[in-house]
């Protein structure tokens, strides 16, 4: 234990001496949270809509104004020809178009089917799906209005929906993204801080000294990890508090469970870095492996942005190896839903398991290297 502390103290001194690294580890996370938390959102804004009203009847004008007054669309110009529309869509000036063919009004008055065309730019499938939903709802309700007006039928729908949204009633995507950002920043900072530790000594030739030093591998690993755990825990809690102050992230659960989840997660992240460091032969490879193991999966496979349950089964299995996956469920559960350890214990257990496995593997690799 005393030896572990000695290694820790030496490591800590080294960190403090390298000012740029220390500043990056402590302050970059907060800066990132500020920048990205502010910059990123998925809230769907008004869609630039081009209108081609070839009918120009009472009915077609009512439909156009229903689109423009819905709050979802902005008038972006009239469509004259299809080439015109093609160019506008290619250049992203227009994201959707409403085309009402001639005689639509007459068909509606006669009670005949009258299709109108809605064209949506699908390059962002997500926005397109939402816009499609809006468009269908608008056309349906306008159409029902015409039928009621012209036939005097009672078309009150027999089933009404009363939607209620829990945990995030205004559906602010920021509340979804900020916990993800916290996980991402925490993972990257922690992994990077240990990823070069061992391989650096190997490359510089100081590894021989470590090999000869009279300490066992476990104390060495503990000593290498502890100072960084302290630093990254401070910076992680800092960004969590900043998120609450800056982005109105609520705190509905207990601080104790939050601290526990964060600590376990960071331990796993530091272990990942250490493991990479023991496997790689050069710092270049260590850097690359870190990006491949930590940077990209934490971004794409953790449920940060892309819901895991939409992924194909084999990929879902891969995500079980991504610690951020468990941390995000725990973090969102604690801060947004106010759940206790009883609900998320499975995720905490998985985080513990991950940390034990990576730190264990790193120790095994290290003791083999030290011969």
């Amino acid at each position: 234990m005393r030896k572990a502390l000695a290694v820790g103290k030496k490591e800590f001194r080294q960190i403090v001496r390298d000012r740029r690294t220390l500043m990056i580890l402590l302050f970059i996370p907060v800066f990132f949270l500020l920048l990205y938390g502010y910059a990123l959102n998925f809230d769907i804004r008004r869609v630039a809509l081009a209108v081609g009203d070839r009918d120009n009847s009472v009915e077609s004008r009512a439909l156009v104004s229903a689109f423009l007054n819905s709050g979802y669309f902005d008038f972006a110009g009239s469509v004259r020809s299809s080439e015109d529309l093609g160019r506008a869509m290619d250049g992203n000036v227009v994201r959707a178009a409403l085309i009402i063919p001639e005689n639509t009004g007459r068909l509606v008055r006669r009670g005949q089917p009258a299709p109108v065309q809605v064209i949506i730019n699908g390059d962002n499938a997500n926005t397109a799906a939402t816009v499609m939903g809006y468009a269908i709802t608008i056309v349906r309700s306008i159409s029902a209005g015409f039928i009621v007006e012209q036939r005097g039928l009672n078309l009150t729908p027999p089933i009404a929906i009363e939607p209620r949204i829990w945990f995030n009633p205004e559906l602010r995507s920021t509340l979804f993204l900020v916990p993800g950002l916290i996980g991402f920043i925490g993972m990257i900072t922690a992994t990077i801080s240990t990823a070069l530790s061992v391989v650096k000594e190997k490359e510089r030739g100081t590894w021989e000294q470590v090999r000869m030093a009279p300490i066992n591998t476990v104390s060495y690993v503990v000593g290498k990890t502890l100072p960084y755990l302290g630093i990254s825990l401070v910076s992680a809690m800092g960004i969590i508090v900043a998120a609450m102050g800056l982005f109105d992230m609520p705190m509905r659960g207990s601080w104790g469970s939050l601290l526990l989840a964060t600590g376990l997660f960071l331990l796993g992240a530091l272990g990942t870095g250490l493991l990479v460091s023991t496997i790689a032969d050069s710092q270049l490879v260590a850097f690359q492996v870190t990006l491949i193991l930590a940077f990209l999966p934490t971004f794409l496979l953790s449920g940060f942005i892309f819901p895991i349950q939409n992924m194909p089964r084999p990929i879902q299995i891969v995500t079980y190896a991504v610690p951020a996956r468990y941390f995000l469920v725990a973090l969102r559960g604690i801060v947004l839903k106010g759940v206790g350890i009883a609900t998320i214990w499975g995720h905490l257990a998985a985080l513990t398991g991950y940390a034990v496995v990576v730190l264990g593997l790193a120790s095994v690799r290290l003791s083999r290297e030290r011969g």
Partner: protein, 372 residues
């Protein structure tokens, strides 16, 4: 020229020496694209639901069946009362709860209006928004069928219908939108890393002095450093475009030649960026942190890869013009999905080229100060 070739040869030998290097630069991009390409989907399908069916009539079961039969929802469990749904939503086992009140079947049978409640977990605001839209349309069209059955003639009077066409991506698959993005991301990750460690590594091991005293000119040294990485990047372009086209079947509507040429321009900017990082860092650890934090992370978040730039606050938007990935994404998506050519893409191509030359120039300047 011969000196330059020697320099390139030396770099290639050095890369080959590291036995983990080659699998990483060639195999990892393929594996990554396959895994991440499947993962990067924002499609909302099979939303897990819990149903609180307090009515338990055949009419309520029919409504539940309607949800379960839709590709967008999966009924995970059925409980008796709305008070029992909270644990499902809290643990995330269900994202949405449908609550059917007592007496629902009777009211619907008598043709009187009734209300069902949809409780959604708003945590994932985006998916919730889409899922609520699907649910609303599902119930509305089910209700319309019920209504139509009671009307004279047994069907709804005809009226306006929306004929929706989605351009560039008719099946509304986010896959086609995301995979070109993942491809660009992988290219950037592979090449920035290589180049950012290039010079600082020699600095750290002390071999930079030796290089400086060789009769190589500065530009030869830099070109010699970057050319091998450029070669690796070129091979990676073929690999990832191949995977996107033939494994994921993302349609490549435009010309491959143009895509390749513009990808090379993109490589110029990523390699230049890496080199720049290498010249401003004291050691490899600093290079790694600088590259990751100040270059790779902003590229992912601010390039429009997943987060639409038009959604960002007006203060942030101008900064996205500084990000080369922004232009390359427009190029890749344009060539893949829209089949557009140089007549549309020239501003992006020009921006990338300017960016690449500027950063390379900057890196060369920094390098010379160091050796002078």
């Amino acid at each position: 020229m011969r000196r330059l070739l020697f320099m390139v040869w030396k770099e290639l030998l050095e890369l080959r020496q590291d036995k983990r290097m080659l699998p990483i630069v060639f195999v990892a991009p393929i594996l990554q694209l396959v895994v991440l390409g499947y993962a990067a989907t924002t499609d909302v399908k099979n939303v897990p639901m819990v149903v609180a069916d307090a009515d338990g009539s055949s009419a309520s079961r029919e409504l539940v069946q309607t949800f379960d039969a839709s590709p967008y929802f999966t009924v995970a469990s059925v409980v008796r009362s709305v008070n029992e749904v909270a644990p499902y939503l809290e643990s995330g086992h269900a994202w949405m709860a449908l609550s059917i009140p007592v007496g629902y079947g009777e009211l619907v049978g008598a043709g009187r209006p009734t209300t069902v409640q949809l409780i959604a977990d708003g945590t994932d605001a985006n998916s919730t928004n889409i899922a609520l839209g699907y649910a609303t349309n599902l119930v509305a069209s089910y209700a319309q069928d019920l209504l139509a059955a009671r009307l004279p003639g047994g069907r709804m009077p005809a009226g306006l219908t929306a004929d929706v066409r989605v351009w560039f991506n008719p099946q509304l698959e986010s896959k086609d939108f995301m995979i070109p993005g993942v491809l660009a991301l992988l290219l950037i990750v592979m090449t920035v890393v290589l180049a950012s460690m290039g010079i600082v590594r020699e600095k750290e091991t002390g071999t930079l002095e030796q290089l400086n005293v060789t009769p190589l000119r500065r530009w030869q040294l830099i070109v010699g450093k970057l050319l091998p990485y450029g070669l690796i990047g070129m091979i990676d372009i073929f690999l990832v475009v191949g995977v996107a086209r033939f494994w994921f079947r993302v349609p490549l509507l435009g010309s491959f030649g143009l895509l390749f040429a513009l990808s090379l321009v993109f490589l110029l900017s990523t390699l230049g960026l890496g080199l720049f990082v290498s010249t401003i860092s004291e050691n490899q650890q600093q290079a790694m942190m600088t590259a990751t934090f100040f270059f790779l992370t902003p590229m992912i978040y601010l390039s429009g890869f997943v987060f639409p730039i038009e959604n960002m606050p007006a203060v942030i938007q101008p900064f996205t013009y500084l990000i080369p990935l922004r232009y390359y994404l427009v190029i890749v998506r344009g060539i893949f999905l829209k089949g557009v050519g140089m007549n549309v893409l020239w501003p992006q191509a020009l921006a990338l080229l300017t960016w690449g030359l500027a950063i390379l120039g900057l890196a060369t300047l920094r390098y010379s100060k160091r050796t002078a």
